[in-house]
C-alpha cells in the first residue's frame, strides 16, 4: 500500500531575502492522529530546516502555536489533519499581526495591551500572609472562572474584524482578563481598569460580531466580557450623571 499523503501550503516570509510573503507547498505523510503541528515538525525535521514557527506544549495549553489554518484562526497543535484530508491544508501566520518571519507573528501589541488593563489583583487593602487565604465560595469563583481560562493564544485578535480596522482597540483577550479581575471578590481595582476598558479604544470599539468567542479554543467568551463591561460602564456613566457629587 502506498503511503497516504497530504499537501500543506505554507506562507513563507524571510524578511532578509524575501520581498513579499509567498506560498510554498510541502507533501507530508497523512496520519489520522496527527495535528497540523505534527505536519510542520515533520517538514522541519525532514524537508526544510528553514521553516520557522512557534510551539512548545503540543497540548493546547501554552498558546504558542496560533495560526490561520485554511483561513481560520486555530491552534496548530489542536487542528487535526483528519478534519482536512484529503484536501490540502493552507497555513498562514495569525491575521491582524505583522509577520516577523514565516508563521511567526509580531505580537508586541498584545503584550502592551494586556499590561495596560492591569491584569492583577488590586486589593482594597494589602493582606498579610499570616491572615491566610481569603474565603471565596465556589459560586464566587464561578463568576469569573471562565475568564481565567485564557491562554493568550490571540486567535480572538486574529478573528476580530474591529481589531483589524482599528489597531488601537484593546481587544478581546485583554478586555476579558480585565473583566476577570473586576469580577474577582479579592479585587478592588475596577475603577483603575475602567479608565482603559471604558475608553474609546476599549469596549466601545467592539461592534459585537462575536467572532472572538467563536474562535476561542478555551471557551473564554470574550464577547460576553466586553458586553458586560459595556453595561457596567454605562451604569457608571448614568450614576455619575444622576448623582454627580455622590461616590461612585
Amino acid at each position: 500500500m502506498t503511503e497516504q499523503t497530504l499537501q500543506v501550503e505554507i506562507l513563507r516570509y524571510r524578511p532578509e531575502t524575501d520581498q513579499d510573503p509567498a506560498f510554498q507547498t510541502y507533501t507530508v505523510p497523512y496520519r489520522d492522529d496527527w495535528v497540523v503541528l505534527d505536519a510542520l515538525n515533520h517538514i522541519k525535521d525532514n524537508i526544510d530546516r528553514t521553516l520557522s514557527y512557534r510551539w512548545s506544549c503540543h497540548m493546547a495549553v501554552c498558546g504558542s502555536c496560533g495560526m490561520m489554518i485554511n483561513g481560520e484562526p486555530k491552534l496548530s497543535c489542536h487542528a487535526f489533519l483528519r478534519d482536512y484530508y484529503p484536501n490540502k491544508v493552507r497555513v498562514e501566520p495569525l491575521a491582524n499581526f505583522p509577520i516577523e518571519r514565516d508563521l511567526v507573528a509580531v505580537t508586541d501589541d498584545f503584550m502592551e495591551k494586556l499590561e495596560s488593563v492591569k491584569p492583577y489583583v488590586i486589593p482594597q487593602q494589602e493582606r498579610a500572609v499570616d491572615e491566610g487565604p481569603h474565603l471565596q465560595t465556589p459560586a464566587q469563583l464561578n463568576a469569573f472562572k471562565q475568564y481565567t481560562m485564557c491562554i493568550n493564544c490571540l486567535l480572538c485578535y486574529a478573528a476580530c474584524p474591529q481589531y483589524g480596522l482599528t489597531p488601537d482597540f484593546v481587544g478581546p483577550a485583554a478586555l476579558a482578563l480585565a473583566h476577570r479581575y473586576n469580577l474577582d471578590t479579592r479585587d478592588a481595582g475596577r475603577e483603575q481598569r475602567q479608565e482603559i476598558a471604558a475608553s474609546n479604544e476599549g469596549v466601545w470599539d467592539c461592534t459585537f460580531v462575536g467572532e472572538c468567542s467563536q474562535a476561542c479554543p478555551k471557551s473564554v467568551d470574550p464577547a460576553a466580557a466586553i458586553q458586560q463591561t459595556k453595561i457596567a460602564s454605562t451604569i457608571d456613566w448614568y450614576k455619575a450623571l444622576l448623582n454627580p457629587w455622590g461616590k461612585r
Partner: protein
C-alpha cells in the same frame, strides 16, 4: 555588542523565574531586573502542570506528615534541612499565590480545597481544577506586570554565563527577532530554565525543556547534582506523551492490565480497595508504579496500541458529572488526542519521562558554589526531591526556592558590592558570539540535528530508562560520548538571522547532549537501586556507599568528573519505604 546593564538577570520566565523576579522587586524596588526567556513567559512549561501544589493547610494534616512523605518518597536522598524549610514555607507561598488571585478550587465553605496525590499520607494538594500549573503561571506572569522594575526580554536565547574573577557577572543571549547577541551585565544571575525531558524520546515535557540553563552552569564550572534520577510518570498517552494527571487516580481512577486486573496489588501496593486508599495501589509512588508497568509489559499483560504497549486507566465508575467537574482537561485530552472518551472507555496509558530530580547544585538559599549565581526550579537540585520527587512538590518548590533565589540575589547585590568587569565580560561574550558565528561560516557540516537527536533519544531510552544495568549504561556513556564528538560537525542549514529556529535547535541539542552525558555517567557510577534509579545488576539500596549526592564536574571534551557529597539527615534515619495497606 549591545550591553544591557542591570542589577539582577534571570534566565527563564517559568514559575521559578517569575517568582524570583517578583521577590527581587518586592525586596528592593530600586534594583533593576532583566527577565530573559527563550519563549514568552506564559509559554513556559509550568503551564502544562495539571494536578496541583502541595502544602499543609488542613487540620487533619501536619508538617511532619509532609516531611515524612517527601523524605520517604525520595528514598532518603533528600537533604532534610532543605525539606524542613520547604514544608514550612510551602503554605505561605501558596497563600501568597491566593492573594495574587490564583483561582484555587474551593470547598463549599469557601476554604481552599485539597486533593490526594500518590505517596501522600493525607491529602494536601491545592489545585485549580486540573490546570493548576497554567493558573499559577498566568497568575505569576500577570502579577509580575505590576512591578516597574521588572523588564522583560522575551524570546532571548541565553547561551553562556559570563564569569570573571570567580564571580558570575552576567549572561550572553541571542535576541531571536534580530539574531543579534547581547550582553546582560549584572551583579547577580538566577537560572530558572526548567527541565530536560527532551533528551528522551517519550516525555511529558514541552519542546522547550532542553536543559539549557543547567548545562550553561555546568560548562561554567558549577557541578550538576544527582542527574541520574529521572522520574517516569506512570500515566502518559502513548504517542504524544501527553500527561494524564495523577489527580485522575486521586479522584478514584484505577489501573488495569489486559485481563482487566488491578495489577498493582502484585507489586506490594495492595490491598485493592474500591476507593482511593492513600499511599496504596494507584496512589503509590510514581517510581513504583512505572516499574510495575515494566514487569507487566515483560509478562505480556499489557495492551497493544499503535504507539506501543499500554495499560488502561479506568475512570468510568466516576461518572460523567464528576469527570466533568474535577477532571475536565483529562476528558478533553483523551478525547482529542486518543479518540477515547473516559466516561465510556478506559484510557490507554504508559510510563513517560516527566521530571528531572537532579540539576544545578545549590544550597538551601538557592545559591550555587559560584559567587553571584543562583538557581531555582526544575533546573536546580537543592535537594528536596531526592531519588524520586513526591508528586505536587515541584509546583510548590518553584515558588519557595524561586522566592529564595530572588531574595538571595538582592542580598548578594547589596552586600557583594563589587562592580561588573565590563571589559572582561564583553570579551567573553565576544567568544560566545564567535562560536555561534562559526556555525554560520561552516559550509561542510556532515551531521544533522535530527539525526543526532534521534540517536541520543534512542540510547537514553534503551540505556538509561526505567531499568538500567552496567552494560546498558556503559553503552549509553559510549554512544553519548561519540555523539558529543560528532556534534562538532553539526550542520546549520538556515543561515538567516531573524527568528532562526534551526539555530535554536542546534544549540539546544548541544545542551541536551551534555545533560545526557552527565546523566549516563552519574547513573553508571551509582551501583545501587534507589527511587527512580533502578539497576537490574544492583537491585538493593546501598546506604553504606551511596547515601550521597552525585556531583558531576565539567571537564571539557572528556567525561564528567564525579564526586560525592553526604546527604543531610537531621531527623529521619534511612528506613524502608512502606506503601500499600501497611502504610495507612
Amino acid at each position: 555588542m549591545d550591553v544591557i546593564e542591570t542589577d539582577v538577570v534571570i534566565v527563564g520566565a517559568g514559575g521559578a523565574g517569575l517568582r524570583a523576579a517578583i521577590a527581587v522587586a518586592e525586596a528592593d524596588p530600586s534594583l533593576n531586573v532583566a527577565l530573559t526567556s527563550k519563549v514568552y513567559p506564559m509559554r513556559s512549561h509550568t503551564v502544562a502542570a495539571e494536578g496541583g501544589a502541595a502544602a499543609v493547610i488542613k487540620d487533619n494534616d501536619s508538617l511532619e506528615n509532609h516531611f515524612n512523605d517527601t523524605v520517604t518518597g525520595g528514598d532518603w536522598l533528600c537533604d532534610q534541612d532543605a525539606v524542613e524549610l520547604f514544608i514550612n514555607e510551602a503554605p505561605k507561598e501558596l497563600t501568597r499565590m491566593e492573594h495574587w488571585g490564583c483561582p484555587w478550587s474551593r470547598e463549599p465553605s469557601g476554604h481552599v480545597a485539597v486533593r490526594p496525590f500518590g505517596g501522600m499520607k493525607v491529602e494536601r494538594t491545592w489545585y485549580a481544577a486540573d490546570k493548576t500549573g497554567f493558573h499559577m503561571l498566568h497568575t505569576l506572569f500577570q502579577t509580575s506586570l505590576k512591578y516597574p522594575s521588572i523588564k522583560r526580554f522575551d524570546e532571548y536565547y541565553a547561551t553562556d554565563l559570563l564569569v570573571e574573577d570567580g564571580r558570575c557577572q552576567g549572561i550572553a543571549a541571542i535576541e531571536l527577532r534580530s539574531g543579534q547577541m547581547r550582553v546582560f551585565a549584572a551583579k547577580a544571575v538566577i537560572i530558572a530554565t526548567g527541565g530536560a525531558g527532551r533528551i528522551f524520546p517519550f516525555t511529558t515535557n514541552g519542546g522547550v525543556n532542553t536543559g539549557d540553563g543547567a548545562v550553561m552552569a555546568y560548562r561554567a564550572g558549577v557541578p550538576l547534582k544527582d542527574m541520574e534520577f529521572v522520574q517516569y510518570h506512570p500515566t502518559g498517552l502513548p504517542g504524544t506523551g501527553i500527561l494524564i494527571t495523577e489527580g485522575a487516580r486521586g479522584e478514584g481512577g484505577v489501573l488495569i492490565n489486559n485481563e482487566g486486573y488491578r495489577y498493582l496489588q502484585d507489586y506490594g501496593l495492595g490491598p485493592p480497595d474500591p476507593w482511593p486508599r492513600k499511599k496504596a495501589m494507584e496512589l503509590g509512588p510514581r517510581d513504583r508504579l512505572s516499574q510495575a508497568f515494566w514487569h507487566e509489559e515483560r509478562a505480556g499483560k499489557t495492551v497493544a496500541t499503535p504507539h506501543g504497549q499500554a495499560v488502561h486507566l479506568d475512570l468510568r465508575h466516576l461518572g460523567e458529572k464528576k469527570i466533568n467537574e474535577r477532571l475536565p482537561m483529562v476528558r478533553e485530552l483523551a478525547l482529542s488526542y486518543m479518540g477515547v472518551d473516559p466516561v465510556f472507555k478506559p484510557i490507554p496509558v504508559r510510563p513517560v519521562v516527566h521530571y528531572m530530580m537532579g540539576g544545578i547544585h545549590t544550597d538551601i538559599d538557592a545559591a550555587t558554589p559560584l559567587a553571584g549565581l543562583f538557581a531555582a526550579g526544575e533546573c536546580a537540585c537543592v535537594s528536596i526531591n531526592g531519588a524520586n520527587r513526591l508528586g505536587s512538590n515541584s509546583l510548590t518548590e518553584i515558588l519557595v526556592f524561586g522566592g529564595r533565589a530572588g531574595r538571595g540575589a538582592v542580598e548578594h547585590v547589596r552586600s557583594g558590592g563589587k562592580d561588573v568587569d565590563r571589559t572582561a565580560i564583553e570579551e567573553q561574550a565576544g567568544e560566545a558570539q564567535k562560536r555561534v558565528a562559526a556555525l554560520f561560516q561552516k559550509a561542510d557540516g556532515t551531521e544533522t540535528v535530527v539525526g543526532l537527536r534521534k540517536e541520543m533519544n534512542h540510547i537514553m531510552e534503551t540505556g538509561a530508562g526505567i531499568y538500567r544495568s552496567k552494560e546498558s549504561l556503559e553503552e549509553a556513556c559510549k554512544t553519548i560520548g561519540e555523539l558529543r564528538r560528532r556534534y562538532a560537525d553539526v550542520r546549520l542549514e538556515d543561515k538567516s538571522n531573524v527568528f532562526n529556529t534551526d539555530l535554536v535547535q542546534v544549540l539546544e541539542l548541544g545542551s541536551m547532549l551534555d545533560a545526557a552525558h552527565v546523566l549516563a555517567h552519574s547513573a553508571l557510577n551509582r551501583e545501587e537501586s534507589r527511587g527512580s534509579h533502578q539497576r537490574l545488576d544492583k537491585t538493593e539500596r546501598d546506604d553504606e556507599t551511596y547515601l550521597k549526592h552525585t556531583l558531576a564536574h565539567y571537564t571539557g571534551e572528556g567525561d564528567p568528573r564525579l564526586e560525592y557529597l553526604d546527604v543531610k539527615i537531621t531527623k529521619s534515619p534511612p528506613g524502608e519505604r512502606v506503601y500499600g495497606g501497611a502504610a495507612s
